[in-house]
């Protein structure tokens, strides 16, 4: 997977620390059996998925409710009724994390799916189409890829303002560029295989080649990469929210919770309002990473040899 084609030469082999080499080369021969770290990852991700779906129903109160109205004796401190303390506006942190889970995970998941939809269609399309079409798509893609993602996000938000659909579209399109490059590279590699040539010689059409030859072989690395991409989308969305340019108050979201409560670090009543949402993001992303690593190792990717 690492043989660069001619057009790819001018892109630094780097995407936020993840190279294609780390993805599994082939689908696993037997079904995937997670190792211990894999199970830990699955458990944590499962926990957050449950909170994301059920959070608003099992949360002790509404996301903007005040658990202790007019009682500032233990302002922000963890206490009975607010185990993680309250935030700058005296709202319950635990409740807001439960509400924020759905927003952070939901936005990131939809955005990653959008990135995959656009990226895979165009990437595989570029791989099977004429060199001219491929070159045009790749050049446009390279221009976007050579920008820092957060800067693209800033420009878009500056232009059209921030709302959840804008966030999803922005993150989806920005990360579609990375998916495009991966899907194209994988597609290219499969296109030069003997079995594709054989299919072509048999007189099979392009659609047949895509669905019967390319997709079954490209599926495994692409699905694994979905997990990795989702990590970066979560970090991207959270960073934008942290900068005040993502999910807007009073809606809770893990990134914006960190921002809202940043002031508490100065007068130090409690560090939990900042620490808790930041840890929530990190546990989720690290857990996804554990699963991805485990699947890669199982699939016999180069990652397993290196680790």
């Amino acid at each position: 997977m690492s043989t660069p084609s001619e057009t790819e030469h001018f892109v630094a082999p780097y995407d936020e620390g993840v190279t294609f080499d780390e993805l599994p080369d082939a689908p696993p021969r037997q079904g995937y059996k997670p190792s211990i770290t894999g199970w830990i990852g699955i458990a944590v991700v499962g926990f957050w998925l449950f909170i994301a779906v059920a959070g608003p129903f099992i949360a002790p109160m509404g996301e903007n409710d005040l658990p202790f109205p007019d009682d500032y004796s233990e302002f922000q401190k963890p206490r009975v009724g607010a185990p993680l303390g309250t935030d700058v506006e005296d709202r319950d942190i635990l409740t807001r994390i439960m509400y924020g889970a759905g927003r952070t995970i939901g936005i990131s998941f939809v955005a990653t799916s959008l990135a995959y939809l656009v990226g895979v269609i165009l990437g595989i399309g570029a791989a099977v189409s004429s060199p001219r079409v491929d070159m045009i798509l790749s050049r446009v893609n390279d221009a976007f890829l050579s920008l820092p993602t957060i800067m693209l996000g800033l420009v878009v938000v500056a232009a059209v303002g921030s709302s959840i659909p804008v966030l999803i579209a922005t993150a989806g399109l920005i990360y579609a560029t990375v998916v495009f490059r991966l899907a194209r590279a994988i597609g290219m590699e499969i296109m030069v295989m003997d079995y594709v040539e054989a299919a072509r010689a048999r007189g099979e059409g392009t659609w047949w080649v895509i669905t019967r030859e390319i997709w079954p072989n490209a599926r495994m690395p692409l699905i694994t990469d979905f997990g990795l991409r989702m990590i970066y989308v979560i970090l991207f969305i959270s960073s934008l929210s942290f900068l005040g340019l993502g999910v807007q108050p009073p809606q809770a979201d893990w990134g914006s919770m960190v921002r809202e409560n940043l002031g508490t670090l100065q007068y130090g009543a409690s560090i939990l309002p900042v620490l808790a949402p930041a840890l929530a993001i990190a546990t989720l992303t690290v857990a996804i990473n554990l699963i991805v690593d485990d699947v890669s190792a199982h699939g016999g990717g180069k990652l397993s040899k290196r680790m």
Binding site: P4, V155, A158, A159, V160, L243, V274, A278
Partner: protein, 316 residues
């Protein structure tokens, strides 16, 4: 070699032009324009038209673009819409601050993380290697503000060193108070790039260590330290330079969140303010500066890769 580098620089230039188009177009998609923002509530049809003419907004987009790009090249970044102060003046002090943090991070963070990564590659599979890999993988997947919070927890709240918030100017401060002033942003950024650098430098050295000539050296009975210092390390210098340049480019992104977290008076806080107040001129100017820096660092990374790897110079 030279033709390849020239070609790469050419691609870099094309990228910069494309980037400037993206940034310029990004500020043009919306109906409201700079004249409306500057006039605000007082806008009547007549003075809006007058303002547009004065700012050149009545001309076709293409001409506007070339005027803007031409001004940018000659160092005229325009005036901030929010405060009407020339952008160059706003940037002047802050530029120093951001460059200082970036340079100090590079000077402190890069050597330490390279050393740690190379050490991990020297003893693959050891306890040190496993712990380091786990920590760096976790750090890569964590948001920058978690790293920052943990450091604040450790140093400011736990040990009483440094300040959680960097405010105000740096003038008239002694050397040591300056250190505690900037310690946390720099440490946070060092952690952010270290997590990438450790993984990538480890992989670069391991890659060399698995090549046939190293195996040959082992079979000849060359002592381990000699294999590492004479054979492996020299050959991994190229990939490592590449990795360092890429990570410095990553600093461009990391610095935004870290500056905002600590309220650091740098370029990144300025551009975020610009986005919040929808100050197009500021977003355009600063966006271009950030992207230019990024493109140049990527270019250096690629040239380093060519210089170090003949196979890239002569593709099949």
């Amino acid at each position: 070699m030279w033709s390849l580098i020239l070609k790469r620089i050419g691609v870099g230039l094309v990228t910069v032009v494309a980037v400037s188009f993206i940034i310029f177009a990004g500020t043009k998609i919306l109906p409201g324009d700079a004249a409306q923002i500057q006039l605000g509530q007082n806008a009547t049809v007549e003075n809006l038209a007058a303002m547009r003419a004065e700012m050149g907004l009545d001309k076709p987009y293409l001409i506007q673009y070339f005027t803007w790009a031409g001004n940018f090249i000659t160092g005229d970044l325009g005036s901030s819409l929010a405060s009407d102060v020339p952008l160059t003046q706003l940037i002047a002090d802050r530029y120093q601050n951001t460059v200082m943090v970036a340079v100090l991070t590079a000077l402190i963070g890069v050597p330490i993380s390279l050393l740690m990564g190379i050490l991990a590659a020297m003893f693959p599979g050891s306890a040190y290697d496993r712990v380091l890999t786990f920590v760096s993988v976790s750090l890569v997947a964590s948001p920058e503000f978690l790293t920052a919070t943990l450091l604040v927890l450790l140093f400011v709240l736990g040990m009483g060193i440094g300040t959680a918030v960097v405010v105000g100017s740096t003038e008239g401060k002694g050397f040591f108070s300056l250190i505690s002033h900037f310690a946390l942003p720099i440490t946070t950024l060092s952690f952010v790039i270290a997590s990438q650098l450790i993984r990538m430098s480890r992989a670069a050295v391991l890659n060399v260590m698995s090549s046939p000539y190293i195996e040959m050296a082992i079979l000849k009975g060359v002592p381990r330290h000699r294999i590492i210092f004479r054979h492996a390390l020299l050959n991994s210098i190229g990939p490592i330079v590449n990795v360092v340049a890429l990570n410095l480019a990553y600093l461009v992104t990391g610095v935004i969140v870290v500056e905002v977290y600590f309220g650091y008076p740098g370029l990144a806080t300025l551009i975020v303010q610009g986005v919040q107040s929808r100050d197009f001129v500021m977003v355009q100017g600063l966006g271009m500066i950030f992207c230019l820096t990024y493109v140049i660092l990527m270019l250096i990374a690629d040239v380093a890769a060519y210089a170090s790897n003949p196979r890239l110079r002569h593709p099949k």
